[in-house]
């Protein structure tokens, strides 16, 4: 009861007024075997905004991200307790098929991971397995649309049938974003999407995030404080498996309430 009250409070005071809540996690505990990785994390992520998760390595921010699309289910011995609502529906129920959930929640990984297939087949992969396209032309339409949204169309339009692994790192990362967009998700999770990229490619991805947030709820894990400040509207600081502080990015970076947050963003710890 107490917990629910806190969450309501958090909603009331920390969210920008215009943003409805998309993801609402309540009392999340994650265990890898005997070891507990997350302790009672409660956080709300607004729709049509970027929420950044920051914190030192091993603080549990990626673990939390992977709870949202139940990727932790693929890890043997991992247990997730708590309630994760997407549009007020608990997605952490055993009875809910993670396969269905993951078609609503796209994910982009740290290292670009295009399949060893052509650029076209990479993007067409999701629509094909979910049966979105009834004809070849419709499929081509989806691929083109997704690549355009990911800002990659101009660069690859004339070589759609060449292998996706032949692209540069930054292009590969935009390709997998296009691949995620192609299944028309509601949420896009990004796990340090720029850590393997150079500054120019990073700038492009950040620009892209800014455009994508007009349509999607984006949650990003990042090690770069500057990136969190640039792209996110809300920031949450994790430390040792606990959520220390969450609020608008501006508030977290200019006026953190917790000394640990203060130390981390000013570079005194981490």
């Amino acid at each position: 009861m107490q917990m629910t009250k806190n969450v309501t409070l958090a909603r009331a005071e920390a969210l920008p007024d215009h943003a409805p809540i998309k993801i609402n996690a309540m009392g999340i505990n994650v265990f890898y075997g005997e070891k507990q990785a997350l302790f009672d994390v409660s956080i709300a992520c607004p729709d049509r905004a970027v929420t950044a998760l920051i914190g030192p390595s091993g603080c549990g921010k990626s673990t939390f991200l992977r709870c949202i699309n139940r990727m932790n289910d693929t890890i043997v011995g991992c247990r997730v307790d708590g309630r994760i609502e997407i549009d007020n529906e608990d997605v952490n129920l055993k009875s809910l098929d993670p396969v269905v959930l993951r078609s609503r929640v796209g994910m982009v990984f740290q290292k670009p991971n295009p399949f060893p297939k052509s650029i076209f087949d990479n993007v067409a992969y999701g629509p094909k397995i979910h049966g979105f396209a009834s004809s070849k032309s419709e499929l081509e339409g989806i691929v083109e649309h997704s690549l355009k949204k990911a800002g990659l169309w101009g660069e690859v339009a004339d070589r759609l049938h060449q292998p996706g692994t032949g692209l540069s790192g930054g292009q590969q990362q935009r390709l997998v974003i296009a691949r995620a967009i192609a299944v028309n998700p509601e949420v896009i999770l990004m796990d340090e999407p720029c850590s393997a990229l150079d500054p120019i490619a990073t700038a492009k991805i950040e620009e892209l995030m800014d455009e994508l947030r007009e349509q999607y709820c984006i949650v990003i894990v990042t090690h770069s404080m500057a990136q969190a400040a640039r792209v996110s509207q809300r920031t949450a600081f994790f430390h040792l498996g606990r959520l220390v502080e969450a609020g608008t990015t501006e508030a977290i970076f200019t006026n953190p309430t917790d000394p640990r947050t203060q130390d981390y963003i000013t570079g005194r710890s981490g």
């Binding site: 693929t74 043997v76 396969v99 269905v100 991971n113 399949f115 060893p116 992969y125 979910h130």
Partner: protein, 470 residues
């Protein structure tokens, strides 16, 4: 005596190492660390002397033999050369206090024999003393030379590394030369075979009965060396083996790498590897004594039920048939295919699986659409390696496929394979100038070329596949 010297040399090398090291340590910090300086001295003390001793051990007998036969008495010189060989051999045996060979009776030459024995005894003594003396001189000389060279700025490490890389080069050269030698001897004998049987008749002839050529009144008829039935038999058995091994091996690899729980994987994988350790001859009698009779009983029973010409045919199916050999060979290849494929599937990066699962693909969709296509080149290479093993496999087919060269694709017939024919051609008494025996080399060369091609293709494919992720 020589062995004692070898032991002494070992002791000397340890001593040289210790002394060199001590001198280097005493001299203070220099270019190379003290153990390299010690190793340098030890190498110089041991290697030249060791090489000399090796030469003496290998060629000493011959050298002494040559020395003994240099001034042959007239009576001995008149003997045929092979008798002379035995004569000197006997003389050396007498000198060493051993019994003579007794191959020939040298009664009238007894005096000469005794004289030569005495000469051999003296000569052996001198030879041995000289060899050992030289070895000791070389060891001490080498030691003194190397030891005097040691100075702080002496580049002992580079020298020692030079010696070691020389050793490595020598070993790899030996391996390559041996391979070249094998191929050359194969090619040479095959060439002799193709002088008596035309390559065209060999490669495209459809009748194989090399025994005919054994009859003295008959020259090797070209038709008797047509290898097509053997190739067909080899192909048939290989095909059956792969039909068994490819799906079972691949599916068990998929199960092991994608589905199996850690504990069940820990049990199943070693069990499969036990299968790989069974000697092929054991598979051979498993085929001949267990699988063959079961298949025969089955087909005879089916024949009895059906009746008619097909039934009659099935009634007379034998133990030995292509099916028996192929199925058992397939069982033998299962662990081979599965363990190679398992490694290859495991090498597909986890990030690809995560990427696919995160798109909302199920596990089986992920395996079918992402993991297997990514692993396909490697799996193909594994299959090609299995094929080349199936082609080269001998024991199972020898025991379970039969010996009759029949040009057939019916798996219920007895067939024979290239390897089986090589075994039959080269067992028992041999005449190495008849086409019958030489045919084995023709077959061997063909087999070698086929498996070499398959292996090269497989290696190329694997290489290409590796580049994709690294």
């Amino acid at each position: 005596m020589v062995w004692i010297v070898l032991v002494l040399l070992t002791a000397l090398s340890a001593l040289a190492y210790g002394l060199g090291r001590r001198k280097a340590k005493a001299a203070g910090k220099g270019h190379s660390r003290p153990n390299y300086q010690g190793a340098y001295v030890a190498l110089w003390a041991v290697v030249p002397a060791g090489l000399l001793l090796a030469v003496v051990l290998v060629f000493g007998g011959r050298i002494e033999h040559a020395m003994l036969s240099a001034d042959a008495p007239a009576a001995v010189a008149e003997l045929p050369s092979e008798q002379q060989e035995v004569f000197y051999g006997d003389a050396r045996a007498l000198a060493a206090g051993k019994a003579t060979s007794g191959t020939y009776d040298f009664g009238p030459l007894k005096a000469h024999l005794d004289a030569k024995a005495a000469q051999s005894a003296r000569q052996h003594q001198i030879f041995l003393t000289a060899a050992i003396g030289l070895a000791i001189a070389l060891a001490l000389g080498g030691f003194a030379l190397a030891f005097s060279r040691l100075k702080p700025d002496f580049r002992a490490r580079n020298r020692v590394e030079g010696w070691v890389s020389g050793l490595l080069i020598a070993c790899s050269t030996l391996a390559v030369l041996t391979t070249i030698g094998i191929v050359a001897s194969l090619a040479f004998e095959a060439f002799r075979f193709f002088q008596s049987v035309s390559p065209l008749a060999f490669l495209f002839g459809t009748e194989w009965s090399p025994q005919i050529a054994m009859r003295t009144d008959q020259v090797a008829a070209d038709g008797a060396f047509g290898a097509v039935p053997l190739f067909a038999g080899t192909f048939l058995v290989m095909l059956i083996a792969m039909i068994v091994a490819a799906p079972i091996g691949l599916y068990s690899a998929i199960y092991l790498s994608e589905y199996a729980h850690k504990t069940s994987r820990g049990v199943i994988k070693p069990l499969l590897e036990v299968l790989a350790g069974i000697p092929t001859v054991v598979y051979g009698f498993f085929a001949a004594l267990t699988v063959g009779p079961i298949f025969r009983a089955f087909f005879n029973w089916v024949g009895a039920q059906t009746g008619g010409p097909l039934g009659d045919y099935l009634m007379q199916v034998q133990n030995q048939m292509a099916l028996t050999a192929g199925v058992v060979m397939g069982i033998m290849l299962i662990p081979f295919v599965s363990s190679l494929s398992d490694d290859i599937i495991n090498a597909v990066p986890q990030s690809l699986r995560d990427g696919s699962l995160a798109m909302g693909a199920t596990k089986s969709e992920t395996i079918k659409n992402v993991v297997l296509p990514a692993a396909l080149p490697g799996v193909m290479a594994a299959m090609l390696l299995a094929v080349s093993r199936a082609i080269g496999e001998t024991m199972i087919v020898t025991m379970a496929a039969g010996l009759q060269a029949k040009l057939t694709l019916n798996p219920l017939e007895t067939v024979t394979t290239v390897t089986v024919q090589i075994v039959t051609l080269l067992t028992g008494d041999q005449e190495f100038d008849s086409p019958k025996t030489l045919a084995a080399f023709g077959l061997g060369l063909t087999l070698f070329l086929v498996t070499l091609t398959l292996n090269v293709i497989a290696m190329r494919v694997v290489q290409k596949y590796r580049e994709q992720y690294d």
